[in-house]
Amino acid sequence: MCDQTFVAATFGPCDSCGTASPLMNIYIKNEPINYCSFCMEVMACQGLQKGETLATLKKECESLKKKLEEDRGKLNDVELHQVAEKVEVVGALSIKTRRVLKGHTNKVLCMDWCKDKRRLVSSSQDGKVIVWDGFTLNKEHGMSMPTTWVMACAYAPSGCAVACGGLDNKCSVIPLSLDSNENCAAKKKTVAMHTNYISGCTFTNSDMQLLSCSGDGTSALWDVESGQLLQSFHGHTSDILSLDLAPSETGNTFVTGGCDKKANVWDMRSGQNIQSFECHESDINCVKYYPSGDAFASASDDATCRFFDLRADREVAVFQKDSIVFGASTVDFSLSGRLLFAGYNDYTINVWDVLKGTRISMMFGHENRVSRVRLSPDGTALCSASWDNTLRIWA
């Protein structure tokens, strides 16, 4: 930068950054301040205290991070799998494909179960959102979105509506009508608006509020009826890829995971980031709460799934194997929380023993990446969505 706009009366080390440059001599509260022009600019914009610089803040950041690690480490008296050594081993699982849902013409990106334990909604790269009856394989509703890559879909708790969103940067809620002749897509209502793709959405405990997370790095809580933004959550420094709401007994928090390798826990009412976990070595593709709400699991492109306990504030298990080299894209727990189902980019679903940290079995069947696994509300079945254009129900 060439400063021609002022006459430099002195030259020397800047009081703020220390580099030798032409100095602007001004007086603040009768005290002479000799800053170089860019520190002057910074001070003017930021209201910096005297002596506070980027370097000192960064140093403080590093020392706080180290202290946090130390505090967390002090409580790490034993590993989860050590405590779980006396627990009985889970017997062989007899989980097989029971249904194959065909109908999408392109990759299935997301799915969600209805609370009635039989219906499910799926969304695909082909722009279609289909509501299926899992028992009969009947397609109850089929809706076309004005965009391809519908990356997120969710069933409303009442079962009367679905929400979906994707590359259109919006999350829309579509009321499902019982009349099969009616065009559902016509009643679509835009609720969430972000400045980048929608990667995940979920209804809160009622049909009235919707939580969305986006590639723009923010997540937000919306009122469905008015479309109003109720709360926004900032803190991620890159795309958010997944979110999960805490199970209802434990209160108003949710967890998000993103491309900045961090998983953050948020308070829905205040918008605050309560806890943050940075243990993964690559993008976090999916986060899911443990059924008790005291812990959550994450799946990442670094081919591991990790288990974090919220009250101990640390990672307590890593689910990995040398033979697993493909990224994990999705996770879900079984009803008791003992089993962790993880879908990988090598077309398989691995079943892990959460307490012991070992792999129990593998589920083969899909012919392309598994994009989403979800347990049915009563825990009797697992549905997996894949890039091979199908969904499978396993039980």
């Binding site: 910074v42 930021q46 706080l64 605050q272 009250r311 039980a395």
Partner: protein, 75 residues
């Protein structure tokens, strides 16, 4: 060139400040020991394992997905 640095600095100073505030807040958290947390997780599993249909399979007649029903469509 210094201009570019200046612009990045103003953004990064506010970012660094936010990061420091966030870390200070996280440092105040009440944490429990891993042994206690692990014991609670195990207790939850134990309490609910009998209700888990994937670990303790219910008879096929009660699991609607395992039932042998034949769905034929007339083409």
């Amino acid at each position: 060139m210094k201009d570019g640095i200046a612009n990045n600095s103003t953004a990064s100073i506010s970012q660094a400040r936010k990061a420091v505030e966030q870390l200070k807040m996280e440092a105040c958290m009440d944490r429990i020991k891993v042994s206690k947390a692990a014991a609670d997780l195990m207790a939850y599993c134990d309490a609910h394992i009998r209700e888990d249909p994937l670990i303790m399979p219910v008879p096929a007649s009660e699991n609607p997905f395992r039932e042998k029903k034949f769905f034929c469509t007339i083409l």
